[in-house]
Structure formats: structure tokens, C-alpha cells
Symmetry: C2
Subunit: 589 residues, 2 copies
């Protein structure tokens, strides 16, 4: 005290003032933000505030930006759910707040905190799928539904893109892998659609071997080690100069500098005279390690040894173009597994360094580009041409058990969805090329639509009345909705393309199917979503609810059909089914 007493009055006065100011500041700040206000004053005269039920107040109580101010106590409250469990909620006056961690699981909804303009907000979603907008009326030569957004090859149930066939190999129902016509058609249709919606890619040309008349234009930057040779020769069948290489397997191979850090689709024309390989060396994101993808003149599907990935591409003893997505080839190789899913990997190619050829053969037109959609589309289309059987179908080589209560489908079964998606693909190939083989295959593909499951067809009849084309021609019938609609879209493409006479059968099948669809659509409507199939009715079980991505597929398909058929039921159902995505429901009585 003595020490303090010695302070001058002036200094004390200043200190005093400062402290008073500090107190004042703290007080005002504290009272502004205190979530525990004094007991609220009696508000007997204020009936609005006292008696208004939460229903009457669209906004939760509390003034924005000053939660708590004005004095609502915020406290924990036990929330007893259906007399079964208790979760901790919060209470503020008449309002109760429920934790989203509970809401999320209970109602199967979605939500997350996001940043927007520096502010955090919570985004609640009833569902996770988005419906696409049907732009113009659907056309058989146009984009297929919303397939421009599909990326078939990325799916982990695609083991790889076969080097021999150029199409994806599925492991969905068998880890050994099998060619699944639905997946192949979707691979084709997605690339076809991307080709229409994306702008043409830049193509970097590394080697064209010139016009063969002697000047060096189009000659790449080759390295030819000792014991190897590389020459430009004239190819009579192609009317073009090509590069002839000769290189023992034991050598380093002749190598063409690419050094492209932007794009990862490589394409070249190739003809082997002996066994050989063309390899591509990649710099990757994996600690900048080099990986090499080898395309080898054998029939091995895919192999991984250390940082070498191998794809068999067949003998290739006549000219063909090999187009490979190096990103896909790298990632499928690194993720290679013996299970039904490719392992997850973060690896990405960073740079295409060079191409290396071994054995004896010819190369021409070496390019790198961002995309090569038409190559993928035609790979799929030609696979469908080659693999259609004498019954017009694409037999599926794996056993399929749709579920409890259904007999298994034995290998060799046909799917109306495969038939329809194949038609949609083949019709597009026909419209582009005018090759009659494509149209012929599409026309033959109607045959299984006419036969019941017992005769290896895909036709089911609902209650003796409505013809249905089965994605899975099970016993009993399953009436899978999305597969049926794909089968109808295929028929539509075909009947629109084939003309009145050739397309008659497709038209009749389409019309009968559309009649069934219009009649049966309500059976798939749960009032808050859709069912995937009618197994509940066929087996007397619980309805098999469609998860949101199938629900949106249903909507997308209906939108497509609504663009070519003006039956009001399509528009009404599209509208209502869309509303379910945002929590809408059919009325109750």
C-alpha cells in the first residue's frame, strides 16, 4: 500500500479511467454474447411470443448474428426417440434442436458443413443424385441420355480395357472377368456422347513417316540402339510411308521421344511381322517413378510385375490402330487384384516420355491426345458385331443370382438391357458408317424380346396382360424397371432408324412395351421414391427400394421417353419423382 500510495493521483486517475473503460467494454461484450441470460422477464402481455407454436415461426428463434442475445437459455435436453433410444438435443425456449448425426442416420439423409464466401454453412440434402436435364427431344443419333457424364472404364468393377478386344472386362459377378455386353455398350455410348458434347481434342502427331516420297516431314525423334534398325518404307496397302523397325527382344528397342505432359491417350497404327511389343514409358505421380506399359503380341489380359504393366494385344500381323488410354492402363495395372474390384490407387501419369518398339514390324501415325472417343465407341460397336450369336443375343458368361427367391440365371443368359443398349450402340454406328452390318445386327437383336425366359428369351408377361422385357429373365419374373426402359430405348432407336418395313418388328415390340410401361409405372412408385423391381409382388416379400442413383436413372429414362412420347403420365411421374429427391411425398389420405 505504501508503495502504491506513492503513485501520483494523476497516474491513479489514468489507471482508474482505463480500468473503467475496460470494465465497460467487457460488460458490453459479455452481455451481448452471453448464452445464459438472466431469467426472461415476464411477458404476460405478449401472447404472440408466449403462445405461438414453433409451427408459426418459420425462422428458429434467436436473432441472426447474435444467437443467445435477448435471452433464450440454450441447454441440453434428452430426446427420447420412439420410446427406444435417447439422443442429446438442445433446447432454446420452445425450440428443440436435434443433432444431425442422429437425423442423418435415422432419416438416411445427407449433410455437411461447407465454405461459401468465407462463411460456413450447413448443406442438407435429401438425396445424393442429380437428375440431368433432357435438352432437346431424344434422337437415335444424339447423345444417349446422360451418358456423356458416364465414365465406364473408371469403375472399379472394370478390371481393365482388353488389349485384344479394346473393350472393358467386368468383374462384377465374377472376379475372373468376363465381357459384359451391357458394360461394353455403355462404354461405347458414353464415348459416343462425350464426342458430341466435348470439343475436339488437340492431337499431337509424333510420327507419320511423311508421305514416303523422301522428305523428312512427320518423322519423329527416334533413338536406334546398336543391333536395331529403323527405316521409312512405302506401304502399298496404305498408300503411305511407314516406319519399319527391327529389334531383338533382348535389346533396348527403338524408341520415339514423346515427352508429353498434357495428354495421355496414345494411338498408333501397327503391324507386326514377328512377335513383338510396343511399350510406353510414363513418369508418374508416385514419387516420380517411371512405369512402363507394354503392349505385347500375345493374348494375356493384363499383368503387373514391379513397375511394368503388360497388356496382350493379339498377334497384330495385319495393320490395325491401337488406341490406349494410358491413365486407365496405368491405374488398372497398379490396382490389379484377384477380387471383383480393382484396388484403389492414387497413382496418375504425369508425362508420356517415350514409345519403345521391339521385334519386327511397322509403325505409323503415332499421336498423343486428350481423348479418342470414337475409337472407344467403335471398339465397342465392333465387339458387339463380332460377339452376337446366332439367336441375335449377346450371351452373358457368368451365373447371375438376382436374390433370395429367384432361381439362378445360368451362364449364357440374355438380358433385354444388353439387347437394348447394344441396339442403341449399333444404330449409332450404322448412322455414322452406313455399314449394313451394324443395322443387321441391331435388327437381329430383337429376337430374344419375342421369347419367354424358358426359351432363352427376355420376355415376361405381367399378370397375363403386360409384355415386359427383362434385364434379368428370372423365374419368377423380376420386372426390373431401369433395364426395361433401356430395352425400350434400344427398340426406339432401331424402329426410328430401320424404316417402316425393316423396323416393323422393333416398332411393335416398342409399342407393346410402352403400353406396359404406362400401365405398370405406378407399381414402382412408393410415394417417396421408387422400387427397383417388382420382386415384392412376385415373391411376397419386402419391396426392393431403389437407392437414389437408380431413382435418378428412372427419372432420366422417363425424361428421355417423355421427349418422344407425350403421354401425360410420363410428365407427371417425372415431376413427382423429382420432388422425392428433395423430400417431397405423395399425399396421404
Amino acid at each position: 500500500m505504501r508503495c502504491l500510495a506513492r503513485l501520483s493521483s494523476k497516474a491513479l486517475l489514468v489507471l482508474c479511467s482505463l480500468l473503467a473503460l475496460l470494465s465497460l467494454l467487457l460488460w458490453s461484450r459479455c452481455s451481448q454474447r452471453s448464452p445464459i441470460p438472466p431469467e426472461p422477464p415476464e411477458r404476460r402481455g405478449n401472447a404472440d411470443a408466449e403462445e405461438a407454436s414453433p409451427h408459426d415461426r418459420p425462422k428458429a428463434p434467436g436473432i441472426p448474428g447474435s444467437a443467445g442475445k435477448g435471452g433464450l437459455r440454450y441447454e441440453e435436453i434428452d430426446c427420447v426417440i420412439n420410446e427406444e433410444q435417447t439422443v442429446k438435443g438442445r433446447r432454446e425456449g420452445a425450440e428443440v434442436f436435434l443433432p444431425f448425426s442422429w437425423v442423418e442416420k435415422y432419416f438416411q439423409v445427407y449433410g455437411r458443413i461447407t465454405q461459401s464466401d468465407g462463411n460456413e454453412r450447413f448443406e442438407f440434402s435429401h438425396s445424393y443424385s442429380k437428375v440431368y436435364a433432357q435438352r432437346a427431344p431424344y434422337r437415335p443419333d444424339g447423345v444417349f441420355m446422360s451418358f456423356e457424364g458416364y465414365n465406364v472404364e473408371v469403375r472399379d468393377r472394370v478390371k481393365c480395357i482388353s488389349g485384344v478386344e479394346g473393350v472393358p472386362l467386368s468383374t462384377q459377378w465374377g472376379p475372373q472377368g468376363y465381357f459384359y455386353p451391357i458394360q461394353i455398350a455403355q462404354y461405347g455410348l458414353s464415348h459416343y456422347s462425350k464426342n458430341l458434347t466435348e470439343k475436339a481434342p488437340h492431337v499431337e502427331v509424333y510420327e507419320t513417316a511423311g508421305d514416303g516420297i523422301g522428305n523428312g516431314d512427320g518423322n519423329g525423334d527416334w533413338t536406334v540402339p546398336k543391333g536395331c534398325s529403323l527405316t521409312t518404307v512405302w506401304d502399298k496397302s496404305r498408300l503411305s510411308g511407314v516406319k519399319q523397325f527391327s529389334c531383338p527382344e533382348s535389346s533396348e528397342g527403338v524408341s520415339l521421344e514423346l515427352n508429353n505432359g498434357r495428354d495421355f491417350i496414345i494411338s498408333f497404327d501397327l503391324k507386326f511381322l514377328t512377335n513383338g511389343s510396343v511399350s510406353v514409358v510414363l513418369e508418374t505421380t508416385e514419387r516420380n517413378q517411371l512405369f512402363t506399359v507394354h503392349y505385347v503380341s500375345n493374348t494375356q489380359l493384363i499383368a503387373l510385375r514391379d513397375r511394368d504393366i503388360f497388356y496382350g494385344i493379339g498377334a497384330r500381323t495385319s495393320w490395325s490402330t491401337l488406341t490406349r488410354d494410358l491413365l486407365t492402363d496405368l491405374r488398372k495395372g497398379v490396382g490389379l487384384s484377384n477380387t471383383k474390384a480393382v484396388k484403389q490407387t492414387k497413382i496418375m501419369p504425369k508425362r508420356v516420355l517415350r514409345l519403345v518398339a521391339k521385334g519386327r514390324g511397322f509403325l505409323d501415325n503415332v499421336t498423343v491426345s486428350a481423348t479418342a472417343h470414337m475409337a472407344a465407341f467403335f471398339a465397342a460397336s465392333r465387339w458387339l458385331l463380332r460377339n452376337q450369336d446366332e439367336r441375335g443375343g449377346w450371351p452373358i458368361a457368368v451365373t447371375r443370382k438376382l436374390g433370395e427367391g429367384f432361381k439362378s440365371l445360368d451362364p449364357g443368359w440374355y438380358s433385354a438391357m444388353a439387347q437394348g443398349q447394344a441396339m442403341s450402340t449399333l444404330v449409332r454406328a450404322y448412322l455414322l458408317t452406313k455399314e449394313p452390318a451394324f443395322l443387321g445386327a441391331a435388327l437381329r437383336a430383337t429376337a430374344p424380346y419375342k421369347l419367354p425366359a424358358e426359351q432363352r428369351g427376355v420376355k415376361a408377361v405381367f399378370m397375363n396382360r403386360h409384355d415386359w422385357y427383362e434385364e434379368y429373365p428370372t423365374s419368377p419374373s423380376s420386372f426390373v424397371l431401369n433395364g426395361f426402359m433401356y430395352s425400350l430405348i434400344g427398340l426406339y432407336d432401331l424402329k426410328e432408324t430401320a424404316g417402316e418395313k425393316l423396323g416393323k418388328e422393333a416398332r411393335l415390340l416398342y409399342e407393346r412395351g410402352m403400353e406396359s410401361l404406362k400401365a405398370m409405372l405406378p407399381l414402382f412408385d412408393t410415394g417417396s421414391g421408387t422400387v427397383y423391381d417388382l420382386r415384392h409382388f412376385m415373391l411376397g416379400t419386402a419391396p426392393n427400394l431403389a437407392r437414389w442413383d437408380y431413382h435418378t436413372t428412372h427419372i432420366n429414362q422417363l425424361q428421355l421417353l417423355a421427349s418422344v412420347d407425350d403421354a401425360p403420365i410420363f410428365k407427371e411421374f417425372v415431376k413427382r419423382w423429382k420432388s422425392y429427391l428433395r423430400g417431397g411425398r405423395a399425399k396421404h389420405n
Copy 2:
């Protein structure tokens, strides 16, 4: 400053200290409770806290028992719902809390704050209806489903209990009122069931007129004004003494003191020789006002004048028992309206003061009791006997439009539900009385089950395959589930009671119906509730979701049927449909 300067250093020092203390206090309080904390410290080393998703924490953050005090740190956060609307939520760390006022409307669920042991808690319910427990296997002479809990006469669509007919009059689809056989049967069945489940009531006897052999036993406390007479006479038909009264309409009437403050069902035997009335004076909760209910020898349904309520009871020139629920009669009178609903009223009887008779006639066995279920049951049963038409049906006298897309049902239509519920009532009356008329009427009631709607029957056929008995035999068919199941329960009662030969038709109808039910039940299952009917399939519209009370009716009916038919589908559906009441859902694919 000069003024301040004159303050002693000591005083300033004290002030300073006080202010410092205040600052300290405010600081500590303020920082403890501030909902806007300083930026959270980096917690890189604490992966658990950073990365744990809300899923991993069944308990919301915040320390139990210290809600508010000591500080739930929270902030308001905008919750954007399906990119459409914004509600104000609360945020505490990684947990977001959503206001129940929004949850309630969005998900159509229920909740309220309740008191329990002095603590407040929030009770959340997915639905508002309870399922009853099917005790023993159902029997035709037993409780009808859960009808012991029904109170038909209380419904505001019951205009009143007719004095002439002794049964309720409905205003549901016509404010003029009409006898609705379904309502009448349910009135009978509910009282029948209550009679089995409730204990026998105490009956206060006010007048039996003795045995007529001269002694005064059973004589009531009568007041006989001037100009009136009251004598005990021997009634040969009844072999009993009765009270004969004679009283001009203009007089006060002879009056019997009752003074019963406990029970409100009055009953007496009555025979008029002229026009007359029996009135009951009630003390009520309405400012202790007296109301008088007059039972008058005419056919007027009901009237209210001031505090007098009138019910016509017909001529009553031969002996009959009149049993009236004074509570119902009072409230229907006070709530009398010309709309399709009785007005809400809080009035209740408090005390039955006295009975007053006018005109000339006889009275006997005046009692007051808490219930008289069998009187109500037989009133319903005998109404059904009297009102069955030559086609075996109970025609319904109002137009019924089930909804958009259906043709109206013109007055005179039959309902399978009415036929079935009538059977269930009549079979019980038969089993109690062994009067063949009851069984005969029940047997004749099967006739409309065999005819299609176009022939005034109630039969529909689903997809040419499944026979169905229509609550509303609409065009197109509607397939209302609950009415169908009631129609089956009636058939069950009848076939079980009538024996193999007489009951053959009922048995065949029952068996065909049960087959249809088992086949079609899945069509009513939405995976989270049920649909009321199949109008969506018949009309191509949205499903007509069943509100929760219909959903529980479906379950109750299935439970009943499961107790007499061990098909697994019933047990499975009961289990799943019950789970929907607590937010359960069928699996999605």
C-alpha cells in the same frame, strides 16, 4: 479534472482496485461463455478430434449435467435445405443441430416436450398411432379386433344416437345425416367388445314397482304434482308390477328423484298410452346450469332449444326398453349443427337429478349405470336385422365420390365392408341369443360378394385373377385394403359359426379372398408405410398413402388374420409394417 484531482489517493486506489476486480470478473465470465471463441488452436497432433465424423459420436458434444452453465459453446449456422430454403441451426464443433420445428414439417414426424419425474425431456415419435396386441387367436364370439378401444358415438361425424332406432346417425358424407351400416356395426361391435373387456358396471335401481303384490320394495321417490296421478299396477304381459302415470303435457309431470353424480347411462322400460315424454334433468359443468334431455313420442331426430334437448323416440305404444347415454345425448344436443361435424363443446353432465314423465303411460325398471354395452350392441344388431334388403345388402343412402378419376357411387350402393362388419355383428348376436334370424341375415349378407359392381355387387377382380371385395365398388375398382380385410373377417366369423353346410358359401368366398390378400398384400407396401388402396395403379396417379391410423388398422387386421391363418406372409408383414411406425424402412438395393 480539478474536481477529480481533489480525491484522495486512497479513494482512487480503492476505486482502482474495485475496477480491476470487476474487469477480472467480467473477463473470466465473458471468456468462459463466449459463443464466438477465438480461433481454435491448431490441433495437428490430435487426429481423433479433427477427423472423427459425427457418426463416431453417439453422444452429442457437451458435458452432460452442465448444459448452459459452464458453457455449451455454440453458434448459429445457416442450414441450406436441398438448395431451396434456409433454416437456422446451431453448431457445436463438428455437430450441427437442426430445429425440430423444421424437422417436424419436413419429415412429417411428431414431438413435444414432456415432464417426467420433474425433468423435462423431448419425446420424438415417428407416428401417432399405436398397434394393439392380438392376445389369443381371434374367435367369432370374442372381442372384435381392438374395437374395445373404439368410441363410435364420440366421433364428431356422428350427429347423435337416434332415439327411434337406438343407433348412430352419420353425417360423414351428407350433413343431413344417414344411417351408415358400417358405423352402426362398429357401434355394435365396439360395445360388444367393451362388454367382454370391462368389468360389469354398478347399476343403481330407482324404480321396479316391486313385485306388484303390494309391498313397496323397489318403489322410487316420486313427486306427483296436482292434476297428475301415479299408481302401481300389475302388468299381465310382463308378470310384474309397473308404474302407471297420467299427467297433462302442460303440467310439471310426475318426477322421480335420481340424484346420481357418478353414472350417466339411464335405462327404463316404457309404454305410452298417449303421446308423452320422459325427460331427464341434468346438472352440468357449464356454470352448473341445468339441461333437460327430453325423450318424446315423435320421430324428430334431435333438437335444441335453449337448455332443452329433444330426441324423438317414436310412439312406444308397446313395451320397450329405452337406454340412453346422457353424456352423449347432452353433448350431441349442445353441439348440434347443420354441418357434417358436431360442434366441439366442453359441457359434461355432473349429476342426473331426476326423471320426469308426461302424458299417459307406464314405466318400470328405472336404472342408472356407468355402461350398458349390450343394449347398444343389440340396438345395432336389431337395426341390421330390420334394415337388410331383399338382396341381402344394407344399401347406403348417400352419394359417395371416392376421388378424382372414379365415378360416383349413387345412393343405394353396397359396401363389402358394411356386409362384413354386419356379419361380424350378426354372428355375435346369433351366438348370444341363438335366434335364427341373426344367422339368416348374416348368411344372406354374402350375396353381394358374388356380384360385380355393375350388378350392384361388391366384387372386383384384380387383373382377371384375384377376387376382391370392395369397400367402395367403384368404377374403376379401387381395392381399398382395410375394407377388404373387414369383409374377410366377417366371412370368417360366418363360416366358423354357420357350420360346414350352411357356411359353405362364406367359406369359399373367404378362401378366395384370403388367396387374393396373400398375393396382393405386397402391392400395399411402400417400404416405409402402406397405401390405402390401389388407385395409383388403376388410375395411373400418385399412390394414395395411408395415414398412420389407417396403417395401424392394416396391421391390426393382419394380426387378427395371422391368428387364424398361419401363412408366413402375415407374420412377416406385421413385423415389417410395425417397424415402419418407428421409422424403419425396407432395404434399398
